[in-house]
């Protein structure tokens, strides 16, 4: 797992499991193998941040969890085996499968210069109902540029 990039409005992901969640986890581990095509199996554990409320939930027949996050037969029994986590730069290629770079470029020029530099998830979130970056004002947008590039400039890169 590479460097973890900060998300905008990121929900707390590492809170303690409640007893109920633990029970669900136990049953998932002990019982039948997780049927990955069924989101409810994932949602038994990933209650807090698993729900897909954004526009991607309406794509075609709705994107199942594994469509983006992949499937791993050992999950969650095998703790060393991660499903696909979108905080890494190499995950961008999965987004670009549908979101053509030319179209992204038309939507906002900054896509052109960041596509190979930072993960899409640094700015975008698909799970919440509204992507936090959509509709942010001109000033908030500039503040994001200044935040990263100011630090980079202080460290000596552009």
């Amino acid at each position: 797992m590479g460097v973890r990039h900060r998300f905008i409005g990121e929900p707390m992901m590492r809170s303690k499991f409640s007893k109920v969640a633990l029970a669900a986890l136990m049953s998932a581990v002990m019982g039948a193998p997780v049927i990955a095509s069924d989101d409810s199996a994932c949602m038994r554990c990933h209650k807090r941040n698993g729900a897909m409320e954004g526009i991607h939930s309406q794509v075609a027949d709705g994107l199942s969890c594994i469509r983006c996050h992949g499937d791993a037969p050992g999950h969650p029994r095998n703790k060393n085996l991660d499903l696909m986590y979108f905080g890494d730069i190499d995950r961008n290629e999965y987004c670009v499968r549908c979101h053509q770079p030319e179209v992204l470029s038309e939507a906002d020029w900054t896509h052109d210069v960041h596509l190979d530099e930072i993960p899409c998830s640094s700015c975008h979130q698909l799970h919440p109902e509204v992507d936090p970056i959509s509709g942010i004002g001109e000033k908030a947008r500039t503040a994001l540029c200044v935040d990263c590039h100011g630090n980079m400039s202080a460290e000596g890169s552009k």
């Binding site: 470029s105 020029w109 052109d112 500039t142 540029c145 200044v146 590039h149 552009k158």
Partner: protein, 219 residues
């Protein structure tokens, strides 16, 4: 010794030149500072923090602007894809056409080399807007007087701060200082880097120096 006509005239010309030369240097010494900006195109990321800071610091109305960042591109393909950014704002000419054409003396250069407008002297004839080759002047919709970048002389400079654009830039792409002071940031940068200025051929002697974008351009 016989003084030839040729020597006499040469000597007279030399004597006449001395006082003129002294006068010129005396005038230069009187003007203390000569404030200028250097805009580094290789550092600018096009975030427009400068133009937003300028608007805020100087209360620039939304319909007009003193400072624009002009984006060009994209150039290149794939990993090499990049944009060029240029700064459009008053260049504070040393021989400013706006000052020359102003019929009321509203346009002036202050003792630090900053070109500015006295709003209550401006009659709004807009000769200066027509004369400015850099197209950076506008009529303020509220005061109806012509206005433009004054390097924040009326707002931040007198508080001892840097111009808003200089302070807001996250990558230090804008450097401000006194050309007459060899130790100033501007003077040091001009010695270290190759720069250009826009429309020098017009004889305006602009003081917005630009470090050219490294990747070049086919015109």
């Amino acid at each position: 010794m016989k003084l030839s006509r040729r020597h006499f005239l040469a000597g007279g010309a030399a004597c006449a030149a001395i006082p003129v030369a002294t006068l010129v240097t005396a005038e230069e010494e009187k003007t203390g500072k000569n404030l200028a900006l250097v805009f580094d195109q290789t550092k600018c990321i096009g975030c427009e923090a400068c133009s937003q800071a300028c608007r805020e610091a100087n209360n620039v109305p939304a319909q007009v602007s003193r400072l624009n960042i002009v984006r060009e591109g994209p150039y290149g393909e794939g990993n090499d894809k990049h944009y060029r950014f240029d700064r459009q704002s008053c260049v504070h000419c040393e021989t400013a056409p706006c000052i020359a054409v102003c019929p009321t003396g509203a346009c002036f250069r202050d003792e630090d080399g900053v070109v500015d407008v006295t709003a209550n002297r401006c009659v709004g004839c807009q000769y200066c807007i027509a004369a400015c080759p850099y197209r950076v002047r506008y009529v303020d919709p509220e005061t109806k007087a012509v206005d433009k970048c004054d390097l924040c002389r009326k707002t931040r400079l007198k508080e001892g701060k840097l111009p808003a654009c200089v302070e807001a830039c996250p990558t230090q792409a804008v450097v401000f200082g006194d050309l007459n002071d060899p130790k100033s940031d501007v003077a040091k940068l001009l010695r270290a880097k190759q720069t250009y200025r826009d429309k020098v051929s017009l004889g305006t002697k602009p003081k917005l120096y630009k470090v050219p974008h490294g990747k070049g351009k086919v015109i």
